[in-house]
């Protein structure tokens, strides 16, 4: 096995264990009362049924990880590391969909009649902590827009001093595999990615800082601060990622432009690697922190039948498959996810569709640009 194959399969193995560990953790960090996307009530969600469902989920996760490792490594060891990585990743991710749907379906059978839940009630904290997290998010939004636009302008101006044919950039190691006579498309590809993703992450950071707080009434006064701490941690993760993405893509773009201009033999791999490591460490620490806090700060609050979840989070009728929240009567744009970590959009809100539509349009534009760079058109 050559060095490239070892690196690819090494990353693949890390990915399998990371995704598996996160999936195993998800049901354990959920808000009390929620189980695989269903609201069962605080007492029911702690009982025998919970343990039984959890066992099924754990076994399914371990089986998926084992199959993915066997498939990925089998293909990789036969001399095709990159296809092994891709197919192994698909085998890792896709089966989680039917596994989730299966345990979610079982959890729905355990849900009490609507009259037995707090679906018709909603609680809100009267403490004002709206400023927390917004400052960093706004700064990240402003900086990411300025930086990504500056990078795009710098890239466009740089094309003037490039030869008519330059190396392509579609390569795992950052080196060109061939020559293209469309320098403009190659040059603007990475800055365009930056222009879409960095401000989008910063926008998400801002929206998260203003997301709905699903506060429990009672709960020893811990629920609202727990929500606040979690919301700030998620917002900071998005805002920091936005800025690091600007730095990372900016460095790659600059290094590639230097190569295209003939000012350098190859990109400075050490610099790119160093920035990537810092970004991954920041994201890893941020992800670990929010997992540690639990979904919605679940580990910081006390959920009990005396302090039940209320509002949209407790209303099974408003959630499709426990994942998509649709409530046109709720003015909230972002609400806590029932399964997993972080927030999801209220698809009953017109603004959510505008944001998603804008982002998907941007993705479509980037796909066209990527295909053009690869010479498809």
């Amino acid at each position: 096995m050559n060095e490239k194959a070892r690196v690819v399969l090494g990353f693949f193995t890390v990915r399998v264990f990371l995704v598996g560990a996160i999936m195993l953790a998800f049901p354990r960090i959920a808000r009390k009362g929620l189980m695989f996307g269903s609201y069962l009530g605080e007492a029911q969600a702690e009982g025998f049924a919970r343990r039984s469902l959890l066992r099924s989920w754990d076994r399914g996760c371990v089986l998926i990880m084992a199959v993915a490792l066997v498939v990925g490594w089998s293909i990789g060891l036969s001399g095709r590391a990159v296809p092994g990585n891709l197919i192994g990743t698909v085998v890792l991710l896709l089966p989680f969909v039917p596994l989730y749907l299966w345990v979610h379906g079982k959890s729905r059978w355990l849900t009490p009649l609507e009259g037995g839940t707090q679906a018709s009630a909603s609680s809100a904290s009267l403490d004002v902590d709206e400023g927390r997290g917004q400052g960093f998010a706004l700064l990240a939004l402003a900086l990411s827009i300025i930086a990504s636009l500056s990078l795009l302008i710098y890239a466009l101006v740089s094309t003037r001093s490039m030869p008519p044919r330059i190396p392509t950039i579609a390569n795992l190691w950052g080196y060109g595999e061939g020559l293209t006579d469309r320098p403009l498309v190659s040059v603007v590809l990475i800055p365009s990615f930056n222009l879409l993703f960095a401000p989008f992450f910063a926008l998400m950071a801002l929206l998260v800082a203003r997301a709905k707080r699903s506060v429990r009434s009672g709960s020893g006064g811990l629920s609202a601060p727990a929500q606040g701490t979690f919301r700030v941690a998620v917002s900071h993760l998005f805002a920091g990622t936005s800025l690091f993405l600007c730095l990372f893509l900016g460095v790659i773009s600059r290094e590639m432009i230097r190569v295209w201009q003939g000012r350098s033999e190859s990109p400075d791999a050490a610099l790119i690697f160093a920035v990537a490591i810092i970004m991954v460490v920041y994201m890893g620490v941020g992800l670990f922190r929010i997992m540690w806090l639990g979904q919605g700060g679940a580990r910081l609050e006390m959920g009990s039948p005396d302090a039940p979840l209320t509002g949209g989070l407790a209303d099974n009728a408003l959630w499709i498959l426990g994942i998509w929240y649709i409530n046109p009567d709720d003015p909230a744009l972002l609400v806590e996810s029932r399964f997993g970590i972080g927030y999801t959009m209220n698809l009953g809100n017109r603004m959510a569709w505008l944001i998603l539509g804008g982002f998907l349009t941007g993705l479509l534009g980037l796909s066209v640009l990527t295909l053009a760079e690869a010479g498809v058109f």
Binding site: R213, G221, G311
Partner: protein, 144 residues
């Protein structure tokens, strides 16, 4: 570890009262009991509506009602704060509120509450009020 006090309000859509009335009533109680002291900032219309999952108009209606009753002060930039009790009572407001009180007392009487019982109940309720307006008297309001 310091645990900041958390004050919540809860609305129930199955309850007979309109949602705006539930919001207004709970805020009124929290202010009258001294849980929310004068000058305390409370969430804006948008934020409270979002957290409760109700329309902006519902919360706005509750806030306007409380503003007209003198419980809240709504300013564009400073947001929404709890008002201090008025130092002098408006005569028209007094007539209106005394009329309301008479109506409630009549209903309590009709529901079977005796005179002594009524007086005791009113004494207890007044005792629960905090932040009584200072008219040269004790000024601090009765504690619980």
């Amino acid at each position: 570890m310091y645990i900041p006090p958390m004050t919540t309000i809860t609305i129930d859509r199955d309850h007979g009262d309109a949602v705006y009335a539930q919001v207004a009533d709970q805020l009124r109680q929290l202010i009258a009991s001294g849980t929310l002291v004068p000058g305390t900032a409370i969430p804006s219309v948008r934020h409270l509506a979002r957290d409760l999952g109700v329309s902006l108009n519902t919360v706005a209606r509750a806030y306007r009602l409380l503003e007209s009753e003198g419980f809240l002060l709504i300013r564009d930039r400073a947001g929404v704060t709890v008002s201090a009790p008025a130092r002098e009572m408006n005569e028209e407001a007094r007539r209106q509120l005394v009329g309301d009180l008479r109506s409630v007392l009549a209903r309590l009487r009709q529901a079977g509450m005796g005179g002594e019982e009524l007086v005791e109940m009113v004494r207890e309720e007044v005792g629960d009020l905090k932040g009584k307006p200072d008219r040269g008297g004790d000024g601090g309001g009765a504690g619980r």
